[in-house]
């Protein structure tokens, strides 16, 4: 038991309510369970925060019980609790936070609030035991290039308007496809043959996608096939992100020996292929998690709880665990190794 903890993490920043349980020590960890319930918005609509929260509250206990059942544990066997504190949608975050606080008080367990984005980064680097990789976090909430330096994840580049996840989801929705748009757009893009010109906006290592979204939708309206437009959209947007990543990489004084890609959009094969191609050119490795673990989940929250517990960080008093809807990833102190 000494130096070995069982941690239960709760995720509820957006459309996924997730509970993950991990067991681990300084050297290694095991995923004991990963259960989720997903809110799916009605056709042609984006995510509605209160509806999502209602869905989460309906499925929270069931998701928790499934996670415990899968791991063959009951709540008394859990050493540590953690939950996703932000950033995200207030109503959704509060469902996870409330359940976490209740469990912490009832079973008298330490409770760690966790930054959702940090969870994505820590999961991929722990999974492959990477030492200080260059990170690309690509999801509905982030499109950000980061690296750990002096106790913070420093932002080396990011989107200045919408994220890659937004770009693809909104495009899919406007094209009449269902949510989430990523996998469907990827399928159509694979059948695309003609590359159509789209705006390519990069400023150093920062980028913008909203001009491209408008242009792509106009191409669609003027009669180009969904396959070709989806293909061109992916090609252009992914090239921008990979160029930003390459610029960040080559301007670093101490070069990383790996690139780690995380977040829901990391599951896109065409994006990851481009990153691997770029990394290979600079003689470094590219990593991403098994697809199941790219999207939001409780495991990424549990892993950060585990690291905090292993580093003897004292959890804040329960009244200091309010959710934070807007919370920049480079404002989080990383006090563990």
């Amino acid at each position: 038991m000494d130096g070995q903890f069982v941690v239960l993490g709760i995720e509820s920043t957006a459309h996924t309510f997730g509970v993950g349980i991990v067991e681990g020590s300084k050297d290694d960890f095991r995923i004991l369970s990963d259960s989720r319930s997903k809110y799916v918005p009605p056709k042609n609509k984006g995510i509605e925060p209160f509806e999502a929260a209602e869905s989460h509250s309906k499925h929270a206990i069931d998701t928790l019980n499934r996670a415990l059942g899968e791991a063959g544990l009951n709540l008394r066997d859990i050493d540590i609790l953690s939950f996703s504190r932000g950033p995200g949608l207030g109503p959704c975050l509060r469902i996870g936070a409330t359940l976490a606080r209740f469990l912490a008080l009832k079973y008298n367990k330490p409770l760690y609030p966790v930054h959702h984005g940090v969870g994505h980064l820590e999961l991929v680097s722990s999974y492959y035991k990477l030492s200080n990789p260059l990170h690309l976090l690509v999801s509905g909430g982030h499109t950000t290039i980061l690296r750990l330096k002096n106790g913070r994840y420093r932002v080396f580049g990011e989107t200045l308007d919408i994220t890659l996840g937004n770009l693809i989801d909104v495009f899919a929705r406007e094209a009449g496809l269902s949510f989430p748009g990523g996998p469907i757009i990827e399928k159509y893009a694979k059948k695309g043959r003609v590359y159509l010109d789209l705006p390519y906006t990069i400023m150093g290592t920062n980028f913008q996608f909203s001009g491209m979204l408008t242009n792509a939708l106009n191409l669609l309206k003027s009669g180009y096939s969904l396959e070709d437009v989806a293909f061109s959209l992916q090609e252009t947007a992914f090239s921008i992100v990979v160029e930003g990543l390459e610029r960040a990489l080559t301007s670093m004084e101490s070069r990383p020996d790996s690139v780690a890609v995380s977040g829901g959009v990391a599951s896109n094969d065409s994006l990851f292929e481009k990153i691997r191609e770029m990394a290979g050119y600079h003689d470094i490795e590219a990593y991403r998690l098994p697809k199941k673990l790219n999207g939001d989940n409780g495991v990424q929250i549990a892993i950060v709880g585990l690291k905090m517990a292993l580093s003897n960080i004292s959890p804040p008093p329960i009244e200091n665990t309010k959710v934070i809807q807007r919370w920049r990833i480079d404002e989080v102190d990383i006090e563990w190794m």
Binding site: P87, V155, D161, Y200, M203, N206, E235, K274, R326, W327
Partner: protein
């Protein structure tokens, strides 16, 4: 084999940056830097060709313009759009990012202040650099002056809105090089910039908006 291929063959590859291979070689007895934008396999060939031609063309024309105006930039000696290649005279020196790491704070402040003036100047000329991160400035060994390099993402614009984009790149770059002390240094940069740049009042509101454009700022 044509002249360009011959030149590259006889030169030494010293660095692969994000979009180009950088060689050092000799042209008519002069030490030169050869910058060749290379084909990126991760880009669609149509997009790749478009970007490499456009950036090579813009870099040459903007660097020429600034050279004629008396700015410290490398002199383009030869270029070929077909090979997406430019040959510059060699500037002996160190990257500003490296210099800032090692210098004492008073010297840092002097350099950052003059950097502000240099960028204010090119903005007055109606030019946006596009990627003024601190690795894109060289402090020359001989006269200890700052040279601006890599105009691959540069373009013509007199709009303070576009100029504000450059300032944000400088701000972010200072943040990654000088994490703890960056605000002080950035204010010194702005002093130097404001001293030269003529539309500062108009620019400020765009710039403040831009700073809040990253993800999840508390006040937006």
């Amino acid at each position: 084999m044509d002249v360009v291929e011959e030149l590259i063959r006889s030169s030494k590859l010293i660095f692969k940056n994000a979009e180009a291979n950088i060689y050092i070689g000799n042209l008519l007895g002069k030490r030169v830097v050869i910058k060749q934008r290379v084909y990126k396999k991760y880009r669609h060939p149509v997009l790749d060709k478009r970007l490499r031609r456009l950036r090579t063309y813009r870099e040459v024309s903007i660097v020429y313009y600034l050279l004629n105006k008396g700015y410290r930039v490398p002199t383009p000696l030869f270029s070929s759009l077909k090979h997406s290649l430019i040959v510059f005279n060699f500037i002996d020196g160190r990257k500003l990012s490296e210099v800032l790491r090692s210098e004492k704070s008073i010297e840092k402040e002097r350099l950052i202040y003059s950097l502000g003036g240099i960028i204010g100047g090119i903005h007055n000329e109606g030019i946006v650099h596009g990627d003024p991160n601190l690795t894109n400035f060289i402090l020359s060994s001989r006269e200890q002056e700052i040279y601006i390099i890599d105009f691959g993402l540069s373009y013509w614009s007199s709009s303070p809105k576009d100029h504000a984009l450059d300032l944000d790149v400088v701000r972010r770059s200072l943040q990654t090089v000088e994490a703890d002390n960056y605000e002080t240094l950035f204010n010194i940069f702005l002093d130097g910039y404001q001293n030269i740049y003529k539309n500062f009042d108009e620019l400020v509101s765009f710039f403040n908006k831009l700073v809040k454009m990253g993800r999840y700022h508390e006040y937006r």
